[in-house]
């Protein structure tokens, strides 16, 4: 929408205002002082730099050769070359490759499951006046105020026989009531007339959800999908609790071993010892692998965050 309004097609002599430029201020507002602008710039620049700078170091070091890392005395701030050796080694099979594949699979399957259950439930609760919907809503809402506790949950998962299966990483944390409420709030905003007319045309609830409600809710669906996917991608605690087999561990758990405990990935110790490969570059490369999907995807969904976060979250 902005690309259309920003570019006046008829009059080429009028320069379109850059999106970097400040729009005109209302007449009653005083012009900002130079000192004020500079102060704001410094504060915002500092906040952004505090986030970007560490990520930059991690990225640059992961792409540096053994020689550059040794010369820098450790972490590299200024890139000298781009060397993919750490990534090549990590992705050529072995522990990290397997862990990355496991993480991707859990994230995909888990997110699909969570979204299906959540969207169905949110729609089921979104038609006001339907039978028992207040009761069901209360049952869900109450879980936001208490937690059964770690030990009872652990004993339950164990009793269900989920230990050492990937179901233990998906089922216990499959739905977030908060996410369901956000979806429900969005679905409730869809015009009742539209849904009634579809019903008169003979559509059932599943069809209304699939063909009318969901296409109208793409923004919120994108946000909630991202929330669930990030949850699965970032999870490590349940794996450490319920999985005993080291070969089943997802990427985050392998990262704990590599970065926190400073261990070399299984099968790569040799390459590191002989000096072809820097242990530091390998650690940084694993970190980049963990952050890359998130860093690439979340900005696309960013413009919907505010809408997604607030509709429904407050209504209850």
């Amino acid at each position: 929408m902005s690309t259309v309004t920003d570019r006046p097609a008829a009059d080429k002599s009028v320069r379109a205002p850059s999106r970097w430029a400040a729009p005109p201020r209302p007449s009653w507002e005083e012009q900002p002082s130079r000192a004020g602008l500079a102060g704001k710039g410094i504060a915002l620049g500092f906040a952004c730099l505090a986030i970007v700078f560490p990520l930059w170091i991690v990225l640059v070091t992961s792409l540096s050769s053994r020689k550059t890392i040794d010369e820098a005395g450790g972490l590299v701030m200024i890139p000298k070359e781009i060397d993919f050796i750490a990534y090549r080694e990590l992705l050529s099979g072995g522990q990290v490759t397997r862990a990355a594949i496991i993480s991707v699979l859990i994230t995909v399957v888990g997110t699909a499951f969570s979204m299906t259950v959540s969207v169905l439930c949110a729609y089921g609760l979104s038609r006001s006046g339907s039978l028992a919907h207040r009761w069901i809503l209360m049952t869900l809402l109450a879980t936001m105020f208490f937690s059964a506790g770690l030990i009872p949950t652990y004993l339950l998962v164990q009793s269900l026989g989920l230990t050492d299966t990937y179901l233990a990483l998906i089922l216990p944390s499959a739905i977030s009531v908060f996410n369901i409420l956000v979806l429900r709030g969005f679905f409730m905003g869809i015009s009742q007339e539209l849904i009634d007319s579809a019903r008169i045309d003979g559509a059932g609830d599943f069809r209304i959800l699939w063909q009318i409600v969901m296409p109208l809710s793409r923004a919120v669906l994108a946000v909630i999908t991202l929330f669930y996917a990030v949850g699965y991608w970032s999870a490590w605690f349940n794996a450490s609790l319920y999985l005993n087999d080291q070969d089943m561990m997802p990427l985050q758990n392998v990262m704990i071993q590599l970065v926190q405990k400073q261990e070399a990935p299984v099968g790569m110790g040799q390459a590191i010892k002989t000096g072809q490969l820097s242990a530091l570059a390998v650690q940084m490369a694993v970190m980049v692998m963990a952050l890359l999907p998130v860093a690439v995807l979340s900005p696309f969904v960013q413009k919907h965050f505010k809408k997604g976060m607030l509709t429904g979250a407050v209504k209850g």
Partner: protein, 344 residues
């Protein structure tokens, strides 16, 4: 009558007043009054598909959120995990010990240390963390250039989506013994320092990590509240001679008050939860003396030491106090005239 033709709300009521039907929250809204006239059986026939749709989520919640509540009985047992692989069988066959676990807890100095660490961390985060998103939101809100705003928001939101494992790994590269800070110090002839393993500063480190990860994300709620302020108010204030700061004090901050109150209530209700994963990941590095909080105390005694009854007792105490805190905090919010988390 087929279920699909019974209206869930009267169309004419819908047209005259959309909000009650849309929010579904007010008692006696048009939709519900009309369905109240129908028999339960008709309503069930009409809504059975909707009920079916909620079934998987309800089943998951009952199974994984409600059912484990019963498992807290192990707090009153000398639970023996080796009786059977099945927790239920073990519970049925473990001896009851009454309040013995709780008695042991109250005499355990490690437990009180965990309580103390939890409370200190809560207050530290309240003072050092809580105001930052408000300040950042005011800052972002005052930026009028659209592109600058979008880019800085994208950067500030990003760490929220990182896992704790990653955040701690990043901090290690900055402040660890082999981190960039130590590296620079050493290159300039000083000794390197390792903040990541220093018990003295650990609580500040935890707070700094929380700020780095989530303070940017925290601004969303405030930005939304700021966006909903009527711009006429600013103009009127300016006409009355209020400068930038006076407008912020008299227009912007009052607009944020309900949100601030709500978030404070939520935070206080959650006071005993101060970052379980984050602390657990660093527990070994700094030792339990400085890092043990209630949640990690439960984990250590239950999962590591297999002393399930004892750990569950600590967890139960935490759970009950937390529930009380939420309810009290909410009550206080109502008394202050704010909306609170839920309405009665």
């Amino acid at each position: 009558m087929s279920h699909s033709t019974v209206p869930r709300s009267r169309p004419e009521a819908e047209k005259t007043d959309k909000t009650p039907a849309a929010s579904g929250g007010t008692t006696g809204s048009a939709g519900r009054r009309s369905s109240g006239k129908l028999s339960l059986r008709t309503r069930f026939r009409r809504d059975r598909v909707l009920l079916l749709m909620t079934l998987p989520a309800v089943a998951l919640v009952l199974l994984f959120n409600y059912l484990p509540i019963l498992g807290n009985v192990v707090a009153f047992q000398d639970y023996d995990p080796y009786i059977s692989d099945n927790g239920v069988v073990s519970i049925l066959n473990s001896p009851w010990v009454g309040l013995e676990n709780f008695q042991r807890l109250f005499e355990d100095s490690a437990f009180w240390e965990a309580v103390q660490n939890t409370l200190v961390l809560f207050f530290l985060q309240l003072v050092l963390y809580f105001p930052i998103p408000i300040g950042l939101a005011l800052l972002i809100n005052s930026v009028v250039r659209p592109r600058v705003r979008a880019v800085s928001q994208a950067i500030l939101y990003l760490p929220h989506f990182f896992s704790w494992v990653l955040v701690i790994a990043v901090f290690q590269q900055l402040f660890g013994g082999a981190g960039i800070l130590s590296q620079l110090l050493r290159q300039n002839g000083y000794d390197g320092i390792d903040i990541m393993t220093d018990p003295e500063t650990f609580k500040f480190l935890i707070t700094a990590q929380s700020v780095w990860k989530d303070a940017g994300w925290g601004i969303i709620v405030f930005l939304a509240a700021l966006a909903s302020v009527n711009p006429d108010l600013y103009e009127a204030a300016a006409m009355d001679g209020a400068n930038r700061w006076r407008r912020m004090w008299h227009v912007t901050l009052p607009a944020l008050r309900p949100v601030i109150a709500l978030l404070l209530v939520l935070r206080v209700g959650d006071a005993l939860t101060v970052g379980f994963e984050q602390i657990l990941l660093q527990r070994d590095a700094v030792g339990p003396g400085a890092s043990e909080v209630l949640d990690t105390f439960v984990w250590w005694n239950g999962v590591r030491n297999q002393d399930f009854g004892y750990a569950a007792a600590a967890g139960l105490i935490k759970g009950v106090i937390s529930l009380g805190l939420v309810l009290v905090a909410n009550k206080v919010a109502h008394l202050m005239g704010e909306q609170g988390v839920y309405k009665k």
